[in-house]
């Protein structure tokens, strides 16, 4: 009896200890912690090409336009706009009564200062090429901004809606200078910058003077980079994080069991491809490319490597991107593949190499699956998953296409502006041959080049639709890449958090963030 009592006491003491420990980790009300898998390298939206970095900068900055959670363009700091007939002059009416965090008024002068900064080559900003079609920016009056383009540019509004086209306070820009503004973001966004502890988190507090009445609905937001997958999942379970992205497939089952957590999956515009080096035998032969298309079971790939969080790609441009043509996936047909190889002169197959542009687990599984599928039709491939530095050396910056060692290459793409030009031109246009952009197939077709170029300068929606359709149909004939799967985005949040969404391009929309 006495012994029991002492066990009881010990248990009580332990419980008390647990309570003390737990109380420390409970978050103050109104403070949301968002755990992400990568550390932002900068807080200057004009100096990054990383999608996730702009997810963070959006807490502090806003642009003239923005994307909603489904990547539809919305007015943000611009209330309306008109385009001249020739598609060259855009006139924007700006929202009234908007202030930057430092009290500076947002007006046409401020917008002009921001855009002039990125266009000035002396500032050496990574996003300069996004605005290289702009001839001049003028502040007509405080509420009217006029932008003149050098040539018509169909997706110009999309370019302005991109998270990197954010409005920066001109006062702050003067105070901190072109470089240091990256460490002191001052925008019109819902949150004011508090601190950036490199090893811990980026913290923002509610901006009292935010123009949108009633927003933001929480007091503080913290973006916490946690690169280790299982650790992010654990943080969600302990309540130390309210939102985690990305979520590894193997954690889903555990998290779904928890009553504090909600797991969300939604279609993305992140597409995975198998590309061929079309300058090299045997991939210069269209029959070989077609045969490989038939040899791969895309549904099985989605199940095996992506645990079902992907589906067979429906064409070259994923659904959700404007002007995407929905196509049937190339059916899985080993017999047909073998016949095509025979016709191409490779009845016994051949040997080649298959590289992956990523070295994460999912990609390793994918290339192993592809290797096994290709072996069924007699194509023996040796595998290598390239780590980032090696990939940069061998693929992204290999100077001469003719000597490029890439043969079969597994890689992905998502159009960060959510429109067809950026989904096709970097991948398939002759001007985009690696190392310039991502045409790793060294594919060149006049119809595709012309359609893409014409669509880019057209402002007529119907004409653009036809042009992009032509290009995509040509791609289906030529098969410079085999579309494999379209991924689903997978993320989880605590039940007390709402209004944070992972968008189809893998960016995060947190404009409606709220806590229960």
């Amino acid at each position: 009896m006495k012994k029991n009592a002492s066990i009881h006491r010990t248990a009580q003491a332990l419980l008390a200890l647990a309570a003390i420990a737990a109380s420390g980790s409970v978050l103050a009300a109104g403070n949301a912690v968002l755990a992400i898998h990568q550390a932002p390298e900068t807080l200057d939206p004009y100096n990054t090409n990383t999608t996730l970095t702009t997810a963070v900068t959006k807490s502090f900055y806003e642009g003239l336009f923005g994307f909603d959670k489904d990547m539809k363009v919305q007015n943000v700091l611009a209330e309306s706009y008109t385009v001249s007939k020739d598609g060259l002059v855009y006139t924007f009416t700006l929202r009234k009564g908007v202030k930057f965090h430092d009290g500076t008024d947002f007006n046409a002068e401020a917008a002009k200062a921001t855009l002039d900064r990125v266009m000035d080559p002396a500032n050496r900003l990574l996003r300069a090429n996004q605005f290289n079609r702009v001839a001049k920016v003028e502040a007509v009056n405080p509420q009217t901004l006029r932008i003149t383009l050098k040539e018509p540019f169909g997706p110009f509004i999309n370019a302005l809606a991109h998270a990197s086209a954010a409005m920066i306070s001109p006062t702050a820009l003067k105070k901190w200078g072109n470089k240091d503004i990256a460490f002191h973001p001052v925008g019109t966004g819902p949150f004011e910058f508090v601190e950036w502890k490199q090893t811990d988190a980026i913290v923002g507090k509610k901006f009292a003077g935010y123009w949108k009445q009633g927003y933001p609905k929480i007091d503080q937001v913290s973006w916490k980079p946690v690169p280790e997958n299982s650790t992010r999942a654990a943080m969600l379970q302990t309540g130390e994080a309210d939102f985690v992205f990305t979520l590894p497939y193997e954690q889903v089952a555990t998290l779904e069991k928890s009553d504090k957590v909600e797991v969300v999956s939604a279609p993305s515009i992140i597409q995975r491809f198998l590309t061929f080096n079309m300058l090299q035998k045997p991939f210069d032969n269209p029959k070989v490319r077609e045969a490989i298309g038939y040899a791969i079971n895309k549904e099985a790939l989605a199940k095996v490597a992506f645990n079902g969080y992907a589906f067979a790609a429906q064409g070259f441009v994923p659904q959700g991107v404007e002007y995407a043509v929905k196509m049937q996936p190339i059916p899985y047909n080993v017999q047909k593949a073998k016949e095509l190889l025979k016709e191409a002169g490779y009845p016994n197959g051949f040997e080649s190499t298959l590289w992956s542009g990523y070295n994460n687990t999912t990609s390793q599984k994918t290339i192993q699956f592809l290797q096994q599928q290709l072996a069924q039709v007699g194509i023996k491939v040796s595998l290598e998953a390239l780590e980032p530095g090696k990939r940069a050396e061998l693929v992204d910056s290999w100077p001469d296409p003719k000597t490029a060692k890439v043969r079969l290459y597994y890689i992905g793409w998502s159009s960060s502006t959510g429109e067809a030009d950026w989904a096709m031109r970097p991948l398939f246009a002759t001007e985009s041959w690696a190392p310039k952009l991502a045409n790793y197939a060294f594919y060149s077709n006049p119809i595709v080049d012309e359609s893409i170029a014409k669509a880019l300068v057209s402002t007529d929606s119907a004409e653009r639709a036809t042009l992009y359709k032509n290009a995509q149909e040509q791609l289906a004939k030529d098969l410079p890449r085999i579309p494999l799967v379209t991924e689903k985005v997978l993320y989880a949040h605590s039940k007390r958090l709402s209004g944070v969404y992972v968008m189809p391009d893998g960016n995060i929309n947190s404009s409606e963030i709220a806590l229960k």
Partner: protein, 306 residues
């Protein structure tokens, strides 16, 4: 003794110099273009060229080396290519968390490791020895990654006693230091035991017992002191390794330390950060070795320095 110490400190300089030269050229021989990596996937060639100029990578290699070297001598280690912040700031804000974690891990693992080692040696081939060595072998063979995840699952997720990530309070140190120290404790236990078993058979131990000394005095005074030399050597080595920041433990517990910084730097080919970190790790090792050498003298006064 002081003379010897100063001489060794001076000898440090040429070693570091050689390390600096070697690491510069090795790092630049790694495949991969930092400008390409820093510019990101969407970047076109003009953008990459821009970044290359910005980072000073368009200059010939000898000029880059000269630049790096002249700045280094003046104590300027450059700016990180990834974050554009001074390398010294990046390293200094991560140094203390790594040092503190290393020290806490070392303290408990040395106490436990040596304790188990001595017990095992004294009760050689009896049950305390078997138990101790079973623990030690498990400690060595259990991967730190798995141990970390397991501890986190039990104590943070299931029981909710301890926080998962961060380094703000003492409670944050418990799980990472347990994980980090487990392998060290195991190594220490095996080393102490091996060394002790040898010493126990020496003549002077028999003499000590023969003159009627208490067994505790024999073990803790006569044996331990003599068995300590290889153990101290091992301790120094382990300490040096841990100071480099454990990549695995730091990523599991999201520890703001040097190991993660090194991994990030290597992935992005962040030359200045890699160079400075390797220099720092070399310096740490040289200093620890020096301290270990000095300790020999205290443990065994017959060792003399010239």
């Amino acid at each position: 003794m002081l003379n010897y110490f100063l001489k060794r400190l001076l000898g440090l300089l040429p070693t570091l110099l050689i390390v600096a030269v070697l690491v510069f050229f090795f790092v630049h021989m790694l495949p991969g273009d930092p400008a390409r990596l820093a510019a990101g996937q969407d970047a076109d060639e003009a953008t990459i060229q821009l970044v290359r100029q910005e980072l000073g990578l368009d200059k010939p290699l000898p000029e880059q080396f000269l630049n790096f070297f002249m700045h280094m001598v003046q104590g300027d280690f450059g700016t990180s290519m990834r974050t554009r912040r001074p390398v010294l700031v990046e390293i200094s804000e991560r140094f203390m968390p790594t040092l503190l974690l290393t020290v806490t891990s070392m303290v408990w693992s040395v106490i436990f490791g040596m304790g188990i080692g001595i017990m095992s040696a004294v009760y050689r081939n009896k049950w305390p020895d078997r138990l101790g060595m079973t623990l030690a072998v498990s400690g060595i063979s259990f991967p730190a990654f798995a141990l970390g995840m397991l501890l986190m699952q039990i104590f943070s997720v299931n029981l909710g006693w301890l926080p998962t990530v961060g380094a703000d309070s003492w409670r944050h140190y418990i799980l990472p230091s347990l994980t980090l120290g487990a392998a060290v404790a195991a190594v220490m236990a095996r080393f102490t035991r091996a060394s002790f078993v040898e010493v126990v058979q020496e003549d002077f131990v028999r003499t000590a017992r023969a003159k009627g000394l208490n067994e505790r005095v024999v073990v803790l005074k006569h044996c331990l002191r003599n068995a300590l030399i290889p153990v101290i050597t091992m301790m120094g080595l382990q300490f040096g390794f841990l100071l480099g920041g454990s990549i695995v433990v730091e990523s599991v517990f999201n520890w703001p330390g040097l190991g993660r910084l090194l991994v990030d730097a290597v992935t992005m080919r962040d030359y200045p950060v890699i160079q400075t970190l390797v220099l720092l790790f070399s310096l740490e090792f040289i200093l620890i070795n020096l301290v270990v050498d000095m300790l020999y003298g205290f443990i065994n006064p017959t060792i003399r320095y010239k």
